[in-house]
C-alpha cells in the first residue's frame, strides 16, 4: 500500500473532562474517498477540528505527507493543502458567490499584497470560475451568498474549500438538512471530487456513505471500532450493534 497522505497516531482530545477522541489511528490513502461514520458524539467533528488545527490535540500525532502538523496553526495547515467544509454552513454571507470562492482561492497565492487590485490576480479569478462550474453555481456567481437557498449554500461551502486546490478535502456532513433530490445531486458531486483528490467524508446518511466511499472507518465513543470496505463494514456485527443502540 502507498504511503498515506494523511495519518493520525493515537490522537486524544479532551473537552474539559470529556474524552472526545480516545487515541484515534486513521490512515488516509492518496486518491481514496474515505468515510468516517459513527453515532452522534462519536468524535467525528472533533477529529476534523484537530486535523485542521482548529483545536489542538491533547496528545498524539498527525502527519500530512510525511510532515508532522500536530502543533501547526489552523492557517498554516490550510496553506499546506488541507481544506474542510462545514456541517453548519459557513460562508462569507455579504460577499458575492464569486468573491466567496475567489477570496478563498487567493489565500494560498497572496498573503499581504496591498498594492495591487485583487482583480489583477487573473489565475485566482479563473480558479474561482472553474470551481463554481464544478459545483454547479456558475449561474449564481454574481448573487450575494447570503441570499442563496440552503442547498446552494451547501454547495458554496464546498466550493470555498475546493478553491485553494487542496490535496486533502474534509467534508463535514455535506448533505445536512438537504432534501432527497438535493442529497442525490450532492452525491454526484462527492463522487466526482473523490476521483480528483483525497476526500475524508463525515456523513450520517448511510446510502450516501455506502454509495460513494472506497473505505469506511467507524468511530464509537472517540475510538476506532473498525475499518474496511463498505461491504466489510456493513456486515460487521459490532457496527450493526452500535447503530442499533444509536437508533433507539
Amino acid at each position: 500500500m502507498a504511503e498515506p497522505i494523511l495519518q493520525t497516531e493515537r490522537v486524544v482530545r479532551y473537552y474539559g473532562g470529556v474524552r472526545a477522541l480516545n487515541g484515534v489511528d486513521l490512515q488516509i490513502q492518496p486518491g481514496v474517498l474515505h468515510a468516517v461514520i459513527g453515532p452522534n458524539g462519536a468524535g467525528k467533528s472533533t477529529l476534523f477540528h484537530v486535523i485542521t488545527g482548529r483545536v489542538p490535540a491533547t496528545s498524539g500525532r498527525i502527519w500530512f505527507r510525511g510532515l508532522d502538523i500536530t502543533r501547526r496553526s489552523q492557517p498554516v495547515i490550510a496553506q499546506l493543502g488541507i481544506a474542510r467544509s462545514y456541517q453548519i454552513t459557513t460562508v462569507f454571507p455579504k460577499l458575492t458567490v464569486h468573491e466567496n470562492v475567489r477570496v478563498a482561492a487567493q489565500a494560498r497565492v497572496s498573503h499581504a499584497n496591498f498594492w495591487q487590485p485583487a482583480s489583477a490576480l487573473r489565475t485566482v479569478s479563473e480558479r474561482a470560475d472553474h470551481v463554481l462550474d464544478m459545483v454547479g453555481l456558475k449561474d449564481q456567481r454574481r448573487l450575494i451568498a447570503g441570499e442563496l437557498s440552503h442547498g446552494e449554500q451547501r454547495h458554496l461551502d464546498i466550493a470555498i474549500a475546493l478553491a485553494s486546490d487542496p490535496s486533502v478535502l474534509l467534508l463535514d456532513e455535506p448533505t445536512a438538512g438537504m432534501s432527497p433530490l438535493e442529497t442525490e445531486q450532492m452525491m454526484y458531486l462527492i463522487r466526482d471530487l473523490g476521483r480528483q483528490l483525497s476526500v475524508v467524508l463525515v456523513e450520517h446518511k448511510m446510502h450516501v456513505v455506502m454509495g460513494v466511499s472506497d473505505r469506511i472507518t467507524v468511530l464509537h465513543f472517540g475510538s476506532v471500532l473498525t475499518e474496511g470496505t463498505p461491504e466489510e463494514v456493513q456486515s460487521n456485527r459490532r457496527v450493526q450493534e452500535v447503530y442499533l443502540e444509536g437508533s433507539i
Binding site: 496553526s73 492557517p75 499584497n113
Partner: protein, 339 residues
C-alpha cells in the same frame, strides 16, 4: 439546480456591472468635486477641517467597515500624529513633509504595539482594550507637561513655507493663506484616500472583508487573521496620524482633546452617519457632522442635542448611513430583475 425543490423560485436581484464600475472609482470623483467646490464656498476653514476629519473617519472605516473591528480609541493615533508633527516642527524646524512623516511614524508605531495587545481579543473586549490604551496614552501626554504642555495644550507651532527644491516655496500658513493651505491639505488627503482605496480593493483588503464576514472560515482558508487584522490596525493608525498631522498644521495649536475619548466617539459617529463599509461614506459623514456643528452652534449652545437626535434617526432608519442609503437607492435603479 437546487431551486427545483421549491415550487416557485423567487425573483432575484443582480447588480449591473456598469454600476460596479462607477462605484469602484469614487475618490477621483470626490477629489475633483472638492477641488472645484472650494472656489465658491466662503468658509475655507470649515472646508479644510472637513478634509482633515474626512480622512480621519475614512481611516477609522478601515477598521469598522472592512475589518469589522470597533475601536473606541482611534483618537490615540490622530492625537499622536498631531503631537509628533508639532513637536518635531517646534524642536528642529524641518521641512513640513518631514515633520508630518515623524507624526505618522509615531502614530503607526504606537498602533503596532497597541494593536498587538488589543487583537488578543475580539468584539466588546477588543473595544474596551482600545479605550483603555487610549486613556493610558492620554494620561502619559497629560503628565508630560514639560514636553506636551499638558492640559494647557501645545502652543506656537511654527509653520514654515512649503519648500519645493529648484522651484521655490509656497506659503501655506493657514490663517493668511486659507486657499493655498486648503489645496495643500487636499493634495495630501486625496493621496491618502487613493492609497486607502488601493489597499481596500487589493487582495489584502478582500481578505480583510472575508475575515469580517467569518473569521473562522477565513482562517480555515489559510488566512492568518491576527496578522492581517494587525496590519489593518497599523494602516488605520497611520492614516489617522496623517489626519492628526494636518490638524496640527492647520491650527498651529493642539490640545489634549485631539486624543480624548470624546474625539474617539465623534469619529465613530461620523463613520456610522455616513455609512461604514462604503469607501467615501465616512467622508460624507464627517462633512455632515462638521457642517451641522458649524451651523447649529450659531443658534444654540446645545447643538449636540440636535446632532444626537439626527444620529438616532440615522441609526434607526438608515442603518447603512447617509451615503450607504443613497448609493443603495441609486443602485436599485441600476439593478435588473432576474427570474
Amino acid at each position: 439546480m437546487a431551486n427545483t425543490a421549491h415550487a416557485v423560485p423567487a425573483p432575484r436581484l443582480e447588480v449591473d456591472t456598469r454600476w460596479i464600475r462607477i462605484r469602484q472609482r469614487p475618490v477621483a470623483t470626490l477629489a475633483i468635486v472638492l477641488g472645484v467646490l472650494i472656489l465658491v464656498v466662503p468658509e475655507k476653514t470649515l472646508a479644510t477641517q472637513l478634509l482633515v476629519f474626512g480622512l480621519f473617519a475614512m481611516s477609522f472605516n478601515m477598521l469598522l467597515g472592512y475589518a469589522g473591528l470597533l475601536s473606541f480609541g482611534h483618537s490615540t493615533f490622530f492625537g499622536l500624529g498631531a503631537y509628533g508633527t508639532a513637536l518635531v516642527l517646534k524642536w528642529w524646524h524641518p521641512h513640513v513633509l518631514a515633520a508630518m512623516a515623524a507624526g505618522l511614524v509615531l502614530a503607526s508605531a504606537t498602533a503596532l504595539v497597541i494593536g498587538w495587545f488589543c487583537l488578543r481579543r475580539r468584539r466588546v473586549y477588543f473595544s474596551m482594550l482600545t479605550l483603555a490604551f487610549n486613556q493610558m496614552v492620554y494620561f502619559i501626554l497629560f503628565q508630560a507637561r514639560d514636553i506636551t504642555g499638558g492640559d494647557d495644550g501645545l502652543r506656537g507651532i511654527p509653520l514654515p513655507d512649503f519648500d519645493i527644491p529648484f522651484i521655490g516655496s509656497i506659503p501655506i500658513e493657514g490663517i493668511h493663506n486659507p486657499l493655498s493651505f486648503y489645496y495643500f491639505v487636499l493634495i495630501v488627503v486625496v493621496a491618502c484616500l487613493l492609497a486607502i482605496e488601493r489597499i481596500l480593493i487589493s487582495p489584502f483588503g478582500r481578505a480583510l472583508e472575508a475575515i469580517r464576514e467569518s473569521e473562522e472560515r477565513a482562517r480555515a482558508c489559510g488566512y492568518n487573521s491576527n496578522r492581517i487584522l494587525l496590519l489593518a490596525f497599523v494602516f488605520a493608525g497611520l492614516f489617522a496620524g496623517v489626519a492628526g498631522a494636518l490638524y496640527a498644521l492647520f491650527f498651529g495649536f493642539i490640545g489634549l482633546e485631539t486624543l480624548s475619548w470624546v474625539t474617539a466617539g465623534v469619529v465613530v459617529m461620523m463613520a456610522i452617519l455616513g455609512g461604514v463599509g462604503t469607501l467615501v461614506g465616512p467622508f460624507v459623514g464627517a462633512a455632515i457632522y462638521l457642517v451641522l456643528q458649524d451651523y447649529v452652534s450659531k443658534y444654540t449652545d446645545s447643538w449636540q442635542l440636535y446632532a444626537g437626535a439626527i444620529f438616532v434617526v440615522c441609526v434607526l432608519f438608515f442603518p447603512q448611513g447617509v451615503w450607504g442609503s443613497l448609493t443603495g437607492l441609486l443602485q436599485s435603479r441600476w439593478v435588473r430583475n432576474r427570474g
